[in-house]
Symmetry: C2
Subunit: 708 residues, 2 copies
């Protein structure tokens, strides 16, 4: 009793009243707008071919020399406003050289010489343009309008690269539903003389009908949605020659619906490399095509795998070479780098880590070293390394334990290192890549210092098969180990994602932290097998049987929770979205009695309703793997429900279409099982913006009300 | 204490254990299948031109002479099976004469002479036929396939009356969304020489997109839905001459989207009469058209009304006259009968009741008297009267207080009277129309006699404007007036419906009765102004301001409830569907604090999303009555919510389209108001079949859980 009194005394007089402020769910959800996320330097980037970096502050662009850490120049907004009076704030920069800023101003690409304070002619493009990609060498911008691709140049804002009436044929946009590392549909050649682009023919892809309820009356909003086992898209690669203004298409027969990805140019612009993957996704051909003819030159190599062959990285050519490049491959169990030549020769395996390489930042001035990102030994981290291309010798450049995001200066001399960890909100450092020396340039203060917040700690558990499983546990403020707390297990569990990271809040959303303290809850999350950054074996055990290994690991987490004296084993709820919705419904229905309450958002309930590219990679087709589909189908377990289950779905979810929840509701009704449902009208996959507060409140209210 | 003991003693030994059986919600909802509805005689009907009636029992058709009440004949199923071996049970009869039975056998109309035991040739029609209407004089059946109309005869099963490719043009089906008393789209002429039919052109009616989630993937299920203020259908009347096999269309210009209804033939087949109502629904022209030319002969009369002119009854010609007919009109404030001639002369007003005439059964042999149905002095009843056409003198033929449904023998000598009341499950009597004498032929036993059931009693309240308002109150079994009970107000409240009737259970669904006892609830229902069978003033006070008077009366009901010592005033819930969903959401949101809990099914939330024909009658168009629409729009009150609100909607509701609930959800999310929602996949307006058990449980669980 005396101890408690002392605590209150200190709380009030020493730490100040503000320490006692409760963090509301609303503020937590809107954390970014409310200033509750760690701050940083705004629009921080390197000046091209320079040791200087810039950031924006107080309506000015601040230049700093990385070597001396001295501010060298300061361009106020007013300088730009003389040339661009319509600017009301400093624009986001697309490029910055030692003379010029390049930025988008409405539907113009502007180039401003900040030394002479003079503007160059604007490159204009259509106001309705989407998927814009500017290229400074071409002095041109590629963009799409509806299903066609255009280029805007100094002389012509709208040159049609394609002019195809058939809406089923879409050019210049990401294809294959952005799987296989695809993020865009346009690829400028290194010198800007050509524009390669993806084209997809969706004639055989069925429409999925979504309904827009904001029109009078409601109206149809069809989307193209290739469902597992059904007709898929036919991809093509076109190459537009800016000089001749003509297109050529690579001569690839994709009538078997195989995939095209990882498009790269050779630096001399003579060839395009692309990986081709069969629809079954267990065989890759890496092929070289000649730009002038569109014909295949050679297959550099093939890769096959019993489970799947997934590519997510384009080739990266070595400096000053038209033939040597680095290639990412998981063939050895972990993503590593391989040095190849365009005639298909494997020069050497550059890295042989038993952890995952995630990216290439670039090379140093000598061209002898490559800078890469990867987890390093602790998969919860993200680090930056310098690797000698010849010897494979490597140095870890990011010293502090945590999650590092780095930008390499174009000359390879410096890195901007932005990182956080469980105990660090955000730090910024400049790393001298030669001296391997860091200089701090920014340290964000704890944005939650005035709030009553509990703690988040990591836990490492052993899975049934002996694998290390990483988890985190968030306790409320004023946690009392002699009490019993209810638990919310927050789960995702699907491929390509990792929720337990050594970053600010351990990678958790701020609302989870707030919820723990507001409701005196334990929040627990575990990354099961199948999740990212653990290597192929860990990730691929899920093949053809989604849910099985994932659930087993989550239940290892639940066993751990039940072993804790401060956990009320009879009050465990589970919550997740998307794949996490699949996990939530599966955990609830296939393990009756473990959880009292489940809230599943945008859940996959039957993999046959999910898309071809992602779904067939993990499950094959419904025709090839009927038992697997049947076993994973949540509907089959609805009769088992013990406790309360709430499904939530965006009414126009184009990713996990509403059919997943609707058919599960139908089955529940048929089986006479009472479940709950809510739909967010006109929201897609998940609920964003200010409406997210409503969603989080709905979910947490449901859990608090029923998890007892 | 002693008293209670005595009761238990009696309960066990005298009344037997079965009296204590609780009626489950499931059994109550499935009452019909479970034998919990009052029994009756099956397929009871008159033999044409005879004093005999027939019904089916034990796979036989029993003939009884109404005068002697003696069984005269018995036709076993086996007699029919000799001619129709595929019959597994006695078919439902379409017609029965003193020789022949006419019935449908799959896609054949069969005529069987039961005296000679011989079958006539079958009239076949298409297997996919819908909207079938057989005519024995024509020996032909009219039917529709998709949007076209066909006739099947002895010689040809598929004669195309229309052959129109454009799916927007629909022939032979009910038009105007079955408002204005329209129940079908085909009208055989009295001698069977012609088939008149409705045709509608829906080119200007927008599609409403519904989604079928049972296909793979989900697919679009467009319906034509004319929303208030938007483009409506263009109606036509066609007449097919069976001899010439040609169509003629009445020359009516309906480009102003006016309505055609109440189609009648003159007995000589020379003319067709039809009422035409302007789209504003405040002006009726009753017109006569010549069959041979399709041209208008005359307008018999016009009716106008400041509020609306609603017609629901066709002309009924007097026996042996081609020119004299009876016409229903509400022009005097109550629906009464008027004797007109086809040249437009009003011969006389036949009835002048200050209660509502609801139908004409036919005439007696002399043709001097007409048999009509109507409420009589107590609007909660339905009775049958004989009215002298000349003198207007009338006799009430249905003697017992209650709700009577009568069938007149074709010769006018006898009535079959089927009736129930609060205390009578179902009684059947034969009424001799000359002697006005009744003979009991059947008395159903109480189907709930073995169950623990509470009581339902009528209450008459005074509305704020002095009007009598009829209500009913159901108490649980073992009701104890010294206790406080929570209440569920069940509401409909819209036009054309009446929930408080002197019939079995007072007109309540059996699940309400079961719920009262299962959960120790009071269930209360009141018919507010606007509801049916009270005359035009009572019904039309709602014009242009739906919800206002209706809510006022419902709150009179709530005040009454609060005045009862056994009612817990702090625990009142409200529940309703369709217009009742509009009432439920309006009551909840526009009167915060009155109800703790509301469950609204298939609710209208904004009248602009409702259909042209019904919606504009009561509200005019959104353009004409913007204030009225705005005031009634439930969205405007969502911010007021106190307590819990659950919306339920059929996912393919074609009547109150899902947009009503979806836009209200969207507004709730926008206003940061937490409400609940459930949708029944692939259910239309309301949830039918075995799934209805799930619905009722969901609604009642929600009320029990939250009404506290």
């Amino acid at each position: 009793m005396k101890k408690i009194f002392l605590f209150l005394f200190l709380g009030t007089f020493v730490l100040g009243f503000s320490q006692q402020t409760m963090l509301s769910l609303e503020d937590a959800v809107l954390g970014y707008q409310k200033g509750l996320n760690p701050s940083s330097l705004n629009d921080l980037q390197w000046v091209t071919n320079s040791n200087s970096y810039v950031f924006q502050k107080d309506s000015a662009l601040i230049f700093t020399d990385a070597a001396s850490n001295k501010v060298t120049q300061n361009i106020p907004l007013s300088d730009l406003q003389k040339s661009y009076p319509e600017l009301t704030r400093f624009p986001r920069l697309m490029e910055i050289s030692t003379n010029e800023l390049v930025f988008t101003n409405k539907n113009f690409i502007e180039t401003f010489n900040y030394n002479t304070q003079s503007k160059s002619a604007s490159i204009s493009f259509d106001e309705a343009a989407e998927n814009t990609e500017y290229n400074s060498k071409a002095k041109a911008i590629a963009y799409t309008l509806n299903n066609n691709l255009y280029i805007g140049t100094l002389s012509n804002p709208k040159i049609a690269v394609t002019d195809i009436e058939d809406k089923n044929i879409v050019s210049g946009q990401a294809i294959h539903r952005s799987e296989f590392g695809i993020v865009k549909g346009t690829f400028w050649s290194p010198e800007g003389n050509y524009l390669a682009f993806y084209q997809k023919d969706e004639s055989h892809v069925t429409d999925y009908p979504l309904v827009d309820i904001t029109t009078y009356p409601a109206s149809l909003k069809n989307i193209k949605y290739p469902m597992a086992g059904q007709g898929s898209e036919i991809a093509k690669i076109g190459i537009y020659d800016l000089k001749t203004q003509k297109n050529i298409y690579l001569t690839i027969d994709t009538s078997d619906e195989h995939y095209l990805t990882n498009l790269s140019w050779t630096p001399d612009e003579k060839y395009v490399l692309t990986a081709e993957i069969n629809r079954g996704q267990n065989h890759v051909w890496y092929n070289r095509y000649e730009v002038s003819t569109g014909k295949k030159v050679n297959t550099l190599f093939e890769e096959t795998n019993d489970k799947w062959t997934e590519l997510e990285h384009d080739a990266v050519f070595l400096p000053n070479s038209n033939t040597s490049f680095l290639w990412f491959s998981e063939r050895g169990g972990f993503m590593n780098l391989y040095h190849y030549t365009t005639d298909g020769k494997l020069v050497k395996q550059v890295t042989s880590f038993n952890w995952v390489v995630t990216g290439i930042l670039g090379f140093d001035e000598s061209g002898k070293n490559v800078f890469i990102t990867g987890t390093g030994a602790d998969p919860r981290e993200m680090n930056t390394f310098k690797v000698n291309l010849k010897t494979g010798k490597y140095t870890k450049l990011s010293k502090v334990n945590g999650t590092h995001s780095t930008q390499l200066s174009t000359n390879g001399n410096y890195l901007i290192d932005s990182y956080s960890s469980l105990s660090i909100p955000t730090n910024l450092e400049i790393i001298d890549t030669k001296k391997v020396k860091s200089t701090s340039i920014y340290s964000a203060e704890n944005p939650l210092k005035d709030y009553k917040i509990g703690t988040t700690k990591f836990v490492t558990l052993k899975g049934n098969d002996g694998t290390d499983l990483y988890a985190k546990i968030t306790k409320p403020a004023n946690f009392d180990a002699t009490k019993k707390y209810p638990v919310m297990v927050y789960v995702y569990g699907g491929p390509h994602a990792q929720l337990v990271t050594n970053s600010w809040l351990g990678g958790s959303s701020l609302w989870m932290t707030a919820f723990a303290t507001l409701e005196n809850y334990i929040v627990f999350t575990l990354d099961n097998r199948g999740s990212a950054n653990r290597g192929f074996a860990f990730e691929s055990v899920i093949h053809r049987k989604l849910g099985d290994a994932e659930m087993e690991d989550q239940l290892t987490g639940v066993d751990y929770l039940k072993s804790l004296n401060f956990v009320d084993s009879d009050r465990i709820a589970v919550n997740g979205w998307s794949f996490g919705g699949f996990m939530t419904t599966s955990l609830m229905l296939r393990n009756p009695g473990v959880f009292t309450t489940a809230v599943a958002g945008g859940p996959v309930t039957d993999w046959k309703y999910y898309e071809v590219m992602y779904g067939e990679r993990y499950m094959d087709t419904p025709q090839e793997n009927p038992e697997g589909y049947e076993k994973a189908k949540v509907h089959n377990y609805i009769k088992n429900l013990e406790g309360k289950l709430l499904l939530i779905h965006g009414s126009i979810d184009p990713t996990v279409v509403p059919q997943h929840s609707m058919t599960l509701l139908q089955e529940a009704v048929k089986q006479k099982v009472q479940i709950d449902f809510f739909t967010y009208p006109m929201h897609e996959h998940n609920v964003r913006g200010v409406d997210r507060v409503h969603l989080i409140k709905k979910m947490m209210d449901y859990i608090v009300e029923n998890n007892k």
